[in-house]
Assembly symmetry: C2
Homo-oligomer: 222 residues x 2
């Protein structure tokens, strides 16, 4: 049996790992990639650190620092070559190789995520959708057939999926997390409004939408 | 015409404001509230800082520090009185008074957010849903009638809504943000995968779901 404990949030745990790229930088890299792709699609060959910074919301000096972790330099007065830097980021982030995830809980939110078109650009694909509602099992969400949660651990293990998305109610989430972890999942994107207990080595990214909106509302209404 | 510039992320801007409660604390308060309510519903009268910390993912000493900003102290060996601390947090966060938001872009994600049941517990209510698709206008999402985007600024101004949620494609998001700001919106929860230009005094919380999943996948697959 696995010994469990409450994890700290994955960002702080991440920074303790061996990579030399700081987490805030890591979080900006996909944004740089997004904006470089957009620039290239608009016919721009070069993008300055200033422009890139404006589009991502950081100063130009931060862009240059972030790129220095990847040994990428722009030309003074010209900037970064958009296509080649995008390609470098794509390789660094592993976006060229498909990354698979499973999703559990096909309610409105789960359905929206299963059908979300934006994942494709980052090489992400949801390869399994699960629910405990027998009325839903066998139906389709997009091209996926909804499978019973009982099959979760087995399918995760067989497909060697490493990321699971939980969009169930809070009271079901821990059991789902246990099944995901038993199947070999290493990262959980948790939309259920609760804290999950997972073993060391499993990352949990909590995404409590109500808390996010509550904080935004509080900040605004003061 | 409003002078626009690119904002930094709202968290760093927030910390420059006058409140004495740090943003990381502010983000944990709704989580404490959530766990205290849960404990009370399970019949627990008191919750220790250790237990509360485990449920929120921080050490006990951090819980006590966070509570000290609100002048809340637990009793040594007993903990915090769950009901009364929950009530205090509810008042501090303004959860008792309803906070309204509008949502623009009733695709799968917008629909899921408009129907999301979790907002209610935090006093949050989406009071308007807008779309530019004339086939959708006039239909209902839950109890809301979908309204044309042309009516957005006017309705936001009349209802004095302060928070807007953007779930449109990226190429429509800036125009929507402009209309929201013109109507008096002070906070934008942006799910469109792009950076928005807004005037000073407007907070933008970006929520790029694909970037979030890409970062999680990258962390896990190394």
């Amino acid at each position: 049996m696995l010994v469990k404990r409450f994890t700290n949030n994955w960002e702080s745990r991440r920074s303790a790992l061996t990579t030399h790229v700081p987490v805030p930088t890591l979080r900006r890299l996909p944004l740089y990639y997004r904006e470089l792709k957009r620039a290239a699609s608009q016919g721009l060959t070069h993008v300055s650190s200033k422009t890139l910074g404006e589009r991502v919301g950081v100063p130009a000096v931060q862009v240059r620092k972030d790129m220095s972790y990847l040994d990428q330099k722009g030309r003074p007065g010209v900037g970064y070559e958009a296509q080649s830097l995008a390609a470098h980021l794509r390789d660094f982030l592993g976006l060229a190789s498909e990354k698979q995830a499973v999703l559990v809980g096909v309610g409105n939110l789960g359905r929206a995520l299963a059908l979300y078109p934006g994942f494709h650009a980052y090489g992400l694909r949801i390869v399994g959708a699960f629910d405990n509602d027998l009325d839903k099992v066998g139906q389709r969400v997009g091209t996926l057939e909804i499978l019973p949660v009982e099959a979760l651990g087995d399918i995760v293990a067989r497909l060697q999926v490493r990321v699971g998305i939980i969009t169930t109610p809070a009271d079901a989430a821990q059991d789902i997390a246990d099944a995901l972890v038993a199947g070999g999942i290493k990262g959980i994107w948790n939309f259920a409004p609760c804290r999950l207990a997972v073993p060391d080595g499993v990352f949990v990214k909590d995404e409590d939408l109500a808390v996010a909106l509550a904080v935004l509302s509080h900040v605004v209404e003061q």
